[in-house]
Symmetry: C2
Subunit: 698 residues, 2 copies
């Protein structure tokens, strides 16, 4: 199927064209309003001769030319026959608004969607929807979209794809957002969200890809697009549904999407530098910021310039809350600012300029230029609440001053940060937009959004394995836990540090093993049927002599046969006791869509009470392993905390890399790994797997 | 000084009346614009006969009547002579705009402010400022305010006090906020922030007190007002500067305020149920919500009603992030909703109603009524982005439906929650306001704000000691650490569980003490000069015989004389070794303004890595102690975590109450207490102070 036939058609037919409210009427209204040249658009309705004074055809076959794409505004039952008819006219694209398909959750709906999908495949028709609101292609002026919004020029460079038509409409209704494409994907089972994402990542007219996503259906395509965007540094901004259980449930009933594990999405987004936002306003404003600024900043640092002390304080505090860096100005900047500002102002970053400079464009430009030239600063934030109706003339002078500085060629971004929500004055919004200055929402959003900017420029795709171990098949449902020795042997095979161990089946084997291993020893029951060995008296530590080996051997067997008589016993596992190190937990969970996710955290309360863990998709390189560790609050426990030991971080990173490789290579058959604990020893002394369970698919 | 003479004057003179831009001109412009009856307002300017066509007097003495209050628009140097002159005319209130006082941070400025303060006291003049923007009294129509904003009716019930004039202006510029008073306090050294706060808490026309606060100067007055507001359930919403170091610095250079310890303010606000917000938008919108709703909800739970699936998902996820509770609907509600909604909708909370009901007021009212009647729900959130210019007619029907339900007398609050920032349609904002429905900012703010509402109604002043142990004097700067035994004896005196201990000065006393205490023993060096006893070999544990007592006695003395020969030794401290319990840290820090703050947390990494502590002002009752403990993430460690022990929470709470009483009684002389650790034993077995240092002021 060719997405271009859908999104960039030469000829279009609107089936069910009408003047009434509803899909047919509203689509026609939009087309009449926005499409400049209507000669390749055909309205079809057997009951009408004209629609909005344009000729209307009785049926597709009455149209004399081939039709690339049809917009079906009529009910569900008409859809399949129309597609078959259209196909005969050379149609290879279709938009279907009708609902009643898989989103209903019922069998009839699911079947209808399956049938539709099959038909499209057969006819080679790229279909948008069903249960969608259509799309707008602002680049080629194509407007098969069913929701009405206020008329304004929206052509720009944000490519929006949404599983909610209402969110498309909302972003169109924002004051200043400009788009290359707006795509309401609906259920997205024929042409999927992933297809559209890939299209926009590839599209040279799209500078920012903005997505409302309920779930992913084609992980491989999805990852591939994220990777391309990461390498090209094209920002992808995603509002992903499903942080909460109620949010996941809602996604399922809205477009029939399975939202997937939320933490997995966070991990995937981290790997590919995708910007995740939390609501519609943040999606809009983050996309808009990336859309408008002329160039990315070179440093993740900010200056904040304000006209009042109260607002300066809010910037200092809110910036701090969101982790925005305000470095001190250089000495040179401070000296210059002292000359420029009134005597009662004290130059700091954030800066209270006082209002006095804002009534003279030249003075304002001077101060702004001084700050823009400071080597510590990456981006300048101008704190100012631009209102709809201007009461205070300061903006006249400020805007002129900003323009002056921008036109001198200083390429650091300038961003305006208001303190109160409002529709912004149209004239000045437009003036500022034209010179690359976006206006953000009020401070709580604004600082969250500029932190996205800082994170985006700090992301380095060269530091990352841009590969994700996506399972090739995923049809194995049953799982089987390996016994401890099987688990450890498997890990050892993949280069992970596991102590020597023997399974013994009688006294003489036990004594033999003891001699090879040396004392002190650990002895444990070895059985895949017993997961909690201690609970059945199946673990004995600190065995120091032949005599103890023999007595323990029998003791364990008696305990187990008392507690768990039905368990199949493979023998007794004998290992040399390991010295205790710092306890680290490493887990792997094989996500049904995105494959093995590796989890790392310090043992005990760190993981259990504080959930202080890092999760990241396999495979993982050493730089990524380091980032995972540094993200832990408990990281400092490993690096000489309170005069304590420095632990062997190199070995720990190697271990993470190895387990991720193991998981990668076994992505189709692995279910879970739980290494708990891994002992991490002091610098230079390595790590060792103390206990491990591997669960494979069967 | 009588605040009413300042804020509710009968006669006013504007000194420096003018038509130019600036304090004089802008104040006159505001008065002409807003004050209905100008017969008691007198303009004074020696150079003018008329100002805006109103007669202007050469000087105050030319005015024939007494003047209650003067507004000084002229420069700093004129202020004191004017006050003296005005006093002769019976003046007891003044507004001073001029800056150049204590906010400069320099000696001249501070002196000028000291002098001004003294003069006002002498003349009995209640002075607002200096370095302020004046005030508006909307109730009595008094308008000595120097900033210009768009004309609209702003009379309402929010009392605003701000240390930033710009923040006053910002809140006036918001679309829909309505005030009883707006007060720009400026430096606030004559009439203080605390005076204004108390005035508004007492004022019956003020429903919500809204504050931008840089620092507190009169803690006693402040606390007293908070207490009154807590008991009357009048919401106080505070934007307090100084979350960050840079924010604290900015407050100091803005109005010369010392921002104080930020965590102390959090603790104080918690005790009195004060709502702390983080930026100007949140201050505005939180105040506005409390101002508009007709009645507080009875439950801290919410229903969310939306017109689209995407928006419903955002509500579910964002609500979850901010801890907003969306309980499930009752069976009855679900049955009714299923009848009312289209067949493809699935009734959940948050609810995707689909757009279909929003084009019929009756159907919309039915669904709303059904949800309002659900016993699980406290407040209903209507998700809808009202725009400035209405494109979609849904709001006509929704507003009518809402009105219908409200007028039936259902008293649960209804709040509108938009998804994008905008100036809201004036007509509908007003319609909704009149029936008690506020419109919040977009979702990130909105959910934070409705969580404030939930917290506010959950606060119970009856559960709290509404007392704070404010120091009566605070002139002792030097501190002196008590030795361990002195510290413990002091704590024992206040009923805290401390083991028996003896100081021994020779071998025979040591043997004697051993016999009285029993084995095993701990022996430690006792010296106020040695804080870290272990570091000098001054601590020995697990002493089990007379022989060991004697050898240890000498060993400790030798160690100490080697490591710390200059220390004054009081002897050797002997104690019975305590069994180990769960280690808890209890600290007290005596805040210079708000007195002793009690800190509780679990020992070790809990406090040190995760900063998992509760801080609360003394004195503390048992219910408050319980809240402190429950706030800890590590609380579960005390309550049978992973099948572990249940610790003696009753004894721990008693301990917190006792240490807070001790701190309260010693609030003028105590500097610090550090109990580390307190051993907490299993249920019924109490707690015991294992180590303690008390530092007193000297």
């Amino acid at each position: 199927m060719d997405l271009k036939k859908l999104l960039q058609p030469n000829t279009i037919a609107v089936i069910g064209a009408s003047e009434k409210e509803g899909f047919g009427g509203d689509t026609c209204r939009n087309i009449i309003e926005y499409v400049k040249d209507l000669k390749n658009t055909f309205f079809i309705n057997p009951k009408r001769d004209y629609v909005f004074n344009r000729p209307c055809y009785k049926s597709l076959s009455d149209v004399s030319v081939d039709i690339d794409m049809i917009v079906i505004c009529t009910p569900k039952k008409t859809v399949e026959p129309l597609l078959i008819e259209a196909s005969k006219k050379g149609c290879m694209g279709a938009v279907v608004f009708a609902s009643g398909y898989s989103e209903t959750g019922n069998e009839d709906g699911k079947k209808a969607e399956e049938s539709l999908k099959k038909l499209c495949k057969k006819l080679n028709i790229a279909l948008m929807g069903p249960n969608c609101a259509g799309f707008v292609n602002y680049i080629n002026n194509v407007y098969p979209f069913a929701f009405i919004s206020k008329k304004r020029d929206r052509k720009g460079n944000v490519g929006l794809i949404s599983q909610s038509g209402q969110i498309c409409l909302s972003l169109m209704e924002t004051q200043d957002m400009r788009f290359s494409y707006i795509i309401s994907a609906g259920n997205g089972n024929v042409i999927t969200m992933e297809d559209y994402i890939d299209f926009l990542v590839e599209d040279k007219n799209t500078k920012v890809v903005s997505i409302y996503l309920e779930g992913v259906k084609e992980p491989k395509k999805f990852i591939n697009s994220l990777k391309k965007a990461a390498v090209r540094r094209k920002p992808i901004v995603v509002l992903k549904a499903g942080r909460s259980e109620k949010g996941r449930k809602n996604a399922a009933s809205h477009t029939g999407s399975l939202a997937g594990s939320d933490k997995t999405f966070d991990a995937i987004f981290k790997k590919y530098g995708v910007i995740r936002v939390d609501d519609i306003e943040e999606l809009m404003a983050t996309s808009n910021m990336f859309s408008i600024i002329n160039k990315l900043p070179e440093k993740p640092t900010f200056a904040s310039m304000n006209l009042s002390g109260g607002e300066t304080g809010v910037c200092a505090d809110t910036g701090y809350t969101y982790g925005v860096q305000f470095p001190d100005f250089t000495e040179e900047t401070l000296i210059k600012l002292k000359e420029q500002l009134p005597s009662y102002a004290s130059p700091n970053n954030p800066l209270d300029m006082t209002a006095s400079l804002s009534y003279d464009a030249e003075l304002y430009a001077n101060a702004l230029r001084t700050i823009m030239n400071d080597e510590n600063i990456g981006t300048v934030l101008i704190g100012y609440t631009l209102l709809l109706e201007i009461a205070d003339p300061a903006i006249y002078y400020m805007a002129e001053g900003i323009k002056k500085v921008v036109e001198e060629g200083n390429s650091k971004p300038i961003i305006m940060l208001p303190f109160l929500e409002n529709t912004r004055n149209y004239e000045y919004t437009e003036k500022l937009r034209k010179i690359g200055v976006p206006i953000l929402p009020p401070s709580m959003y604004a600082f969250k959004i500029v932190k996205h900017l800082a994170d985006f420029i700090e992301y380095e795709y060269n530091d990352r394995t841009l590969k994700t171990a996506l399972p090739e098949y995923n049809n194995l449902q049953k799982t089987k836990a390996l016994s401890e020795i099987e688990s450890k042997n498997l890990l050892r095979k993949y280069g992970m540090p596991v102590g020597d161990a023997y399974i013994v089946k009688d006294e003489s084997e036990a004594l033999d093993a003891a001699q090879k291993l040396g004392y002190p020893l650990v002895m444990k029951i070895e059985s895949a049927d017993i997961l909690h060995k201690s609970d059945v008296g199946g673990v004995k530590l600190n065995i120091n002599s032949e005599k103890e080996v023999l007595s323990t051997y029998h003791e364990i067997l008696v305990n187990v046969s008392n507690h768990k008589p039905e368990a199949k016993i493979n023998g007794i596992l004998m290992e040399k006791m390991m010295p205790k190190g710092m306890e680290v937990i490493i887990g792997v969970n094989n996500d049904a869509q995105f494959g093995p996710m590796v989890l790392v955290g310090l043992g005990g309360v760190f993981v259990e009470i504080f959930k202080d863990v890092s999760l990241y998709p396999a495979p993982i390189n050493k730089a990524e392993a380091e980032k995972m560790l540094k993200k832990l609050k408990s990281y400092k426990m490993l690096t000489g905390y309170r005069g304590g030991l420095h632990y062997d971080l190199e070995a720990l990173k190697d271990m993470i890399v190895k387990i991720s490789n193991f998981a990668d290579k076994n992505k189709n058959v692995l279910s879970e790994v739980d290494i708990n604990p891994l002992f991490v020893y002091p610098e230079g002394s390595g790590v060792k797997v103390a206990d491990a369970v591997v669960i494979m698919k069967d």
